[in-house]
């Protein structure tokens, strides 16, 4: 076991890497419980119910274009929410555990104290829970078709999940197709979830639910296929359910 320092945490919100504006991230997961204690019991008993989660971000205000203030106010009141991915370990290399969620911004607070830096704090309510994701493509630039190395979960899972794509920079002069594939034998790969084709120079983010009850095989990998010339900077993760 290796402990990690939080100084290099990474926060992706939609098509933006906002890591340099934040200095604190907190992801809180909870599960509601319903009491099932009956007469004759000697102790209370419970069954678990629905999972829930919130993500809190704290940092420093910046009013420039595409900086923290613009991006937070852009998603405030937007029902679709924001696509959020975070790595508390500071890397997004393939296999890294990630936090992923569709977050609905429930509060955004800017504070300007006379003796300190202007701060910005945001609270997100996770829609459909916070995913325990694994990185399938490190945040980085590619110029040609790239197939990520496989990630071994040790076993298949049977309840779908969430596939998340962030495209933070794109100079490609043609469309790029990204997808997540899975395999039972690490040899033959089946398409599990394809993202919407990313048009030339478009930066975007997308989080797609793979339906509950869907088998997700033991091995996962990401494939990105850019057409034309240019550079495509992206990150993909997948959260099993």
């Amino acid at each position: 076991m290796a402990f990690i320092h939080g100084k290099s945490a990474i926060v992706l919100q939609n098509e933006f890497n906002l890591s340099t504006y934040f200095n604190d991230i907190s992801a809180s997961r909870s599960v509601e419980t319903a009491e099932t204690t009956s007469f004759g019991s000697s102790a209370k008993s419970y069954i678990t119910g629905l999972v829930d989660g919130t993500i809190s971000l704290s940092g420093m205000f910046d009013g420039a274009a595409n900086a923290i203030d613009a991006e937070m106010t852009d998603v405030l009141g937007v029902n679709a929410g924001a696509v959020l991915s975070a790595s508390v370990s500071g890397v997004t290399t393939i296999g890294t555990r990630m936090i992923s969620a569709t977050g609905k911004l429930t509060s955004y607070e800017v504070t300007a104290p006379v003796g300190d830096v202007v701060s910005a704090n945001a609270e997100f309510q996770a829609d459909d829970g916070i995913g325990n994701a694994v990185s399938l493509a490190a945040l980085g630039a590619i110029t040609t078709t790239t197939t990520g190395t496989s990630v071994d979960n040790g076993a298949s899972s049977s309840n779908g999940g969430f596939a998340t794509l962030h495209v933070t920079a794109n100079t490609m002069n043609d469309a790029t197709v990204c997808k997540v594939q899975h395999s039972a034998d690490n040899s033959t790969w089946a398409d599990l979830q394809s993202f919407t084709s990313v048009a030339t120079t478009v930066v975007t983010a997308e989080r797609i639910k793979v339906a509950n009850g869907t088998t997700v095989n033991r091995y996962l990998r990401a494939v990105a296929t850019p057409a034309g010339a240019g550079s495509f900077t992206y990150h993909i993760n997948f959260a099993r359910q």
């Binding site: 039972a184 034998d185 033959t188 790969w189 089946a190 398409d191 088998t215 095989n217």
Partner: protein
């Protein structure tokens, strides 16, 4: 050799080959066929006719 209709996009073999949904292929790795069938990613499309026997057709003329 059996042939299979591909129901979801597949990458397989070395060097890697690509089969899209709807393609009929006969060169899937034998070790992968069972789980692909089990998960409805492929379905049996037929087999090569070399070892099949022709069965005579008898028409019922109703007499």
């Amino acid at each position: 050799m059996a042939t299979y209709k591909v129901l979801v996009g597949l990458d397989y073999g070395k060097p890697p080959k690509r089969a899209e949904a709807g393609d009929v292929v006969s060169d899937l790795p034998s070790s992968s066929v069972s789980w692909l069938l089990e998960q409805n990613m492929i379905e049996l499309a037929g087999s090569t006719p070399s070892k099949t026997k022709k069965t005579p057709v008898v028409e019922d003329l109703g007499e």
